[in-house]
């Protein structure tokens, strides 16, 4: 059994990459492999907002990642620099930057790019979805 990490850079709202990444994650977990971390970068971080509100008959990517991560105990990490730029922030960062509000889903965390490098070095396979 292998340890995977994923790098997800796909825009959740206008491309397919996040759907593909979720399908890939579910499949590898079903096969008994381990998922260490999903690192969100570039427009991929947009999925980490808890106030994303798709029409009720459409899939909620944010909630799906959250549920899957809790169920299988892996990390959902959004890169802080690109997240802040894109209006994705937690309460701590919001306060530090004097922003009036925050929107990070509690299943996600914001951290530095070092978490991507660590995932690369500590996983058997890293697969990118862009």
């Amino acid at each position: 059994m292998a340890i995977f990490s994923l790098l997800v850079t796909a825009n959740p709202h206008s491309s397919q990459g996040q759907f593909s990444a979720i399908q890939f994650a579910k499949t590898l977990l079903n096969q008994g492999h381990e998922l260490k971390r999903v690192f969100f970068y570039a427009d991929g971080v947009l999925v980490a907002s808890r106030i994303n509100c798709p029409p009720s008959d459409e899939y909620n990517l944010t909630k799906t990642w959250a549920k899957l991560a809790i169920q299988h105990d892996f990390e959902l990490t959004a890169c802080v620099t690109v997240a802040m730029k894109r209006g994705i922030t937690n309460a701590t960062e919001a306060e530090r930057n004097a922003l009036t509000g925050d929107n990070l889903d509690p299943a996600f965390e914001i951290s530095g790019l070092g978490q991507l490098t660590e995932a690369m070095l500590e996983s058997d396979r890293l697969v990118t979805f862009g």
């Binding site: 397919q16 593909s20 890939f24 096969q31 396979r125 890293l126 697969v127």
Partner: protein
């Protein structure tokens, strides 16, 4: 290093293919599966079945298909994967 190239954008096929060596593998996913109707199949080229089905193209391709289970296995059979964006 035996590499799995994962291509999702049909417009980048030429770029991607020209970086490949003979021991490498190509998997078409997302909108790149449309290429399976337009290009010659090869022994090291695959197309993702679920993405064909999603688009109503499941009966057309002469290419070898992989489902998601096969996709995960390909990433393990190769030494690394490159998502060509």
């Amino acid at each position: 290093m035996k590499t799995l190239y994962i291509l999702n954008n049909p417009q980048h096929f030429k770029q991607c293919a020209s970086a490949m060596t003979e021991e490498d593998t190509l998997l078409l996913i997302e909108n790149a599966v449309l290429l399976a109707d337009q290009l010659e199949p090869r022994s090291n080229y695959f197309v993702l079945e679920e993405d064909l089905i999603a688009r109503g193209l499941s009966n057309n391709a002469e290419w070898q298909t992989k489902d998601y289970q096969g996709f995960v296995q390909l990433t393990l059979d190769c030494d690394k994967s490159v998502s060509w964006l």
